[in-house]
């Protein structure tokens, strides 16, 4: 690169605030990750401000206007009960995001707790890991279905079921990291100097687990969104009176030949959201831990 260009760039960098500069650098290095983050933010904004985004009551039934194709008045058309699909899709973002984020947070916290203990306490390890192996041998959607069959349909139960299905993978990750960390000299030093167990875990282990758990949490979030949509789609998830992307598509199941818009719009929103989450995860993985990037 020519010298004047470098000078100009340096001048530009000086004039910018550090935050903005860091953002620009990050974008240059991981454009897809930032794009993912922006799409995700837009989706969160849509979910939060749904009532002010030209939506009507997503549950308002109007039999006269049933199964209208997309038009200027009904952007995404109407469904079999005459409800506005655009409003239902925008409100549906709430369910997907709440489920995705909650499952990511809960399974990370629970997985972290169990993983720390199993990685550190030999006696617990054998028993807990056999249970985790067993849980992981049940395909996660199937386990979530079996759990949902026990309880009544509600968003809380969906979150609980998917958390149980996703959590073993987090446990396994935390445990494997703890097993390598405990061989590190500084941990050995801490043990030798008589540091209490809890303090070792909190001060020496957990900070080293943040980066991989953040990456894993993003992937769990994306996978939980898909699982929620699948559960709703086959009638074992979010109750039908709550608009969620899976529910809207479930209603379109028998109308595929006459009302494709019932499947198209929620499907696109779901895919774009999951894509955004995965891009963010890939970017964080590359940025936070290059070693992990090669392993995955």
């Amino acid at each position: 690169m020519a010298a004047p260009a470098i000078a100009a760039e340096a001048a530009a960098a000086r004039s910018m605030s550090p935050t903005w500069k860091r953002f620009r650098d990050a974008f240059r290095r991981h454009p897809t990750a930032i794009a993912g983050a922006l799409i995700l933010l837009a989706m969160i904004a849509a979910a939060l401000f749904a009532p002010w985004l030209h939506t009507v009551d997503p549950e308002a039934v109007s039999p006269v206007k049933r199964l209208r194709p997309p038009s200027e008045l009904y952007w995404f058309g109407t469904d079999a009960l005459g409800r506005d699909v655009y409003s239902r899709v925008i409100y549906g973002a709430r369910v997907s995001l709440v489920v995705g984020l909650s499952v990511a947070i809960f399974s990370t916290l629970v997985g972290l707790a169990i993983g720390l203990v199993t990685g550190y306490v030999r006696a617990v390890d054998a028993v807990v890991m056999r249970i985790m192996d067993g849980l992981m041998s049940i395909p996660s959607v199937l386990l979530a279905i079996a759990l949902m069959a026990l309880t009544k349909a509600s968003v809380g139960n969906v979150i609980a079921a998917i958390t149980i299905a996703e959590m073993p993978r987090v446990v396994r990750l935390v445990r494997s990291l703890v097993l390598t960390l405990r061989e590190q000299p500084y941990v050995e030093a801490a043990i030798a100097s008589g540091t209490p167990l809890v303090r070792i875990l909190v001060r020496h282990m957990v900070p080293n687990l943040v980066a991989p758990l953040l990456v894993q949490g993003t992937y769990v979030c994306g996978s939980a969104m898909i699982t929620e949509a699948i559960l709703s789609f086959i009638g074992a998830g979010t109750p039908p009176n709550i608009p969620s992307w899976g529910n809207i598509m479930a209603e379109g199941r028998s109308l595929v030949q006459i009302a494709g818009h019932l499947l198209l719009y929620p499907g696109v929103f779901l895919s774009v959201t999951v894509l955004a989450v995965n891009l963010l995860g890939d970017g964080m993985r590359d940025a936070l831990d290059p070693r992990l990037a090669r392993r995955m």
């Binding site: 067993g134 049940i138 079996a146 699948i230 494709g260 499907g267 895919s271 894509l275």
Partner: protein
């Protein structure tokens, strides 16, 4: 070698026991009293009590688990509440469509993903590599039923090239059988292809940086010979492992795919059972699918010997 196989078999038995225990616990926690269902509407409390004693429902948890597991080992998965038929019977009726779908998808996925992954690794950093990786990220993100409806809305509804839904038995002609499996297999295979492609590329990249690859190239072997004969063979173990682990995706996806394309398979049986709250069927299917998954991965582990003579256990 034999010691390893025995140890691997034992750990499989342990895992299956845990799976059985989890499934039984689900059965145990199931709401509703089977005795009351069997007794019917006009039964007295005394009748229900007698049926409970007869079925052993008042026995302790572990006694019931033991009895249930004993039945399981004799091929008894319980009786469907809705149809009153043995669950094994119901599942056996539905095996053909599910097996056709998953085997077709497995075959197509491997045939597509391996060359894609090898190509992406060989041309690492080029537009081809980037296109393959972009496809892989997309494949992970677009859920199976969204792909399925995308295919149906374009190829079936608009252009009417392939049937929208339904299944034809193999015995009624292989052409129609295949035609009805094309779209379901593509939909179900996409995420699987994405997974295998990504792992093939990563594993190949690792191997291609080794010295013996440079030696093979230096002694003048054709690029294709180096890629397949030297590199792919040495990259095989992680790829085969991923194919095995990915079977879980195939099973979960089959439930959805069968629902979208109205294939009368085990997945469809599961979804119908959810709607009817037919717990024994749900739990039977969970058990069978998990067993298949565990056995596939056992086979994968044992197959390492074929790919790498250094593995002698």
């Amino acid at each position: 070698m034999i010691q390893y196989v025995v140890r691997r078999l034992l750990s499989t038995v342990v895992v299956m026991a845990v799976v059985a225990f989890v499934v039984f616990s689900l059965l145990y926690l199931t709401p509703g009293d089977p005795a009351a269902v069997i007794a019917g509407d006009i039964a007295t409390d005394e009748d229900i009590r007698l049926i409970r004693v007869h079925l052993g429902l008042d026995d302790p948890f572990l006694v019931r688990f033991g009895r249930w597991a004993w039945g399981l080992l004799h091929g008894d998965l319980g009786t469907s509440i809705f149809t009153n038929l043995p669950v094994t019977h119901l599942i056996a009726q539905r095996v053909e469509p599910t097996l056709s779908l998953t085997l077709c998808t497995l075959l197509v996925s491997i045939l597509v993903a391996l060359p894609l992954g090898v190509l992406a690794a060989a041309k690492a950093g080029t537009w081809l590599d980037r296109a393959v990786m972009a496809f892989s990220v997309l494949g992970f993100s677009v859920p199976v039923f969204v792909i399925a409806y995308g295919l149906i809305l374009t190829l079936s509804v608009r252009y009417e090239i392939l049937p929208v839904q339904g299944y034809r038995s193999f015995h009624d002609g292989w052409w129609e059988w295949l035609r009805h499996l094309v779209l379901p297999s593509i939909a179900l295979g996409t995420v699987y292809i994405a997974l295998i492609t990504r792992m093939t590329r990563a594993s190949m990249l690792e191997v291609l940086s080794q010295d013996y690859i440079r030696t093979a190239e230096a002694k003048g072997l054709a690029p294709g010979q180096v890629l397949v004969g030297h590199a792919l063979k040495n990259a095989a173990i992680p790829i085969v492992t991923t194919i095995g682990v990915g079977v879980a995706l195939l099973i979960s996806g089959a439930i959805v795919t069968e629902t979208v394309f109205a294939l009368p398979g085990i997945g469809r049986l599961t979804v119908d059972a959810i709607l009817r709250r037919d717990y024994p069927v749900i739990q039977g299917v969970t058990l069978i699918f998990s067993a298949v998954y565990v056995l596939v991965n056992l086979a994968v582990d044992l197959s390492y010997v074929l790919f790498d003579p250094r593995v002698r256990y």
